[in-house]
């Protein structure tokens, strides 16, 4: 069985300050992990993915995430938030032996203040 927990439902940051979105997972098999972003009235967009290569993964728009097997975590970070980062972020887990069965977290809503 697999599951994913996003530890914060809402995160508020000031523009120019770091962003940290926390994600913990459980999986019976070695997982693949993804972060997606959803802007209002837009489709989900892939930010980055981990598929058992380098544990530090760089994505689009300055985001990166680190896979920590010992902590079963895949936290998303960005050094400096921009107003355009305001959106909902989803952590996704899928075991590598599955047929692409994505398990989504509940999401973290990010608010960026000037």
């Amino acid at each position: 069985a697999q599951s994913v927990t996003q530890l914060d439902s809402h995160v508020s940051v000031s523009e120019g300050t770091p962003v940290l979105l926390r994600c913990n997972y459980s999986s019976s098999y070695s997982p693949s992990l993804f972060w997606y972003v959803q802007h209002p009235n837009k489709g989900l967009q892939l930010l980055l993915k981990y598929t058992s290569a380098a544990t530090l993964v760089k994505g689009i728009n300055g985001f990166e995430a680190e896979f920590k097997k010992s902590e079963t975590s895949f936290h998303l970070t960005k050094p400096s938030a921009h107003m355009s980062d305001a959106a909902e972020y989803f952590c996704v887990v899928t075991p590598t032996d599955s047929w692409g069965k994505f398990q989504f977290g509940a999401g973290t809503q990010v608010v960026v203040t000037p």
């Binding site: 993804f34 837009k42 489709g43 989900l44 598929t51 599955s98 692409g100 994505f102 999401g107």
Partner: protein, 114 residues
């Protein structure tokens, strides 16, 4: 490259009525997914197609929901009869291959059942 297309974007119906959603995946993508996203939650997989065959429909409420993917390209998702709890955004996604490949999402159809 054109993205995943969905229509309609919005639909309002009364309970016990029927409704259908349409999805056109990215050209050449063999795998197609339908998700249900209830407000405040992450998307939940309803059904997965590989070409025109069903891979997983274990979470599809088959007494009222049906889906098909004729000719392995476009897909339709139908609800008949609709219930109030079906109010959600219905997302279509596609991937080039099954398994680890990232999924590309359409903008979704927002369904309101009154």
């Amino acid at each position: 490259e054109a993205g995943v297309a969905q229509s309609p974007r919005y639909k309002i119906i009364e309970k016990r009525q029927s409704v259908a959603f349409w999805c056109n995946p990215i050209s050449g993508h063999a795998t197609l997914y339908w998700y249900q996203q209830i407000l405040g939650q992450g998307p939940k997989l309803l059904i997965q197609f590989q070409n025109n065959g069903v891979v997983d429909d274990s979470q599809l409420p088959k007494d009222r929901f049906s889906a098909e993917r004729l000719k392995g390209v476009d897909s339709t998702l139908k609800i008949q009869p609709a219930k109030l709890e079906d109010s959600a955004v219905y997302l279509c996604a596609s991937s080039l291959v099954e398994g680890l490949a990232e999924q590309y999402f359409g903008p979704g159809t927002r369904l309101t059942v009154t």
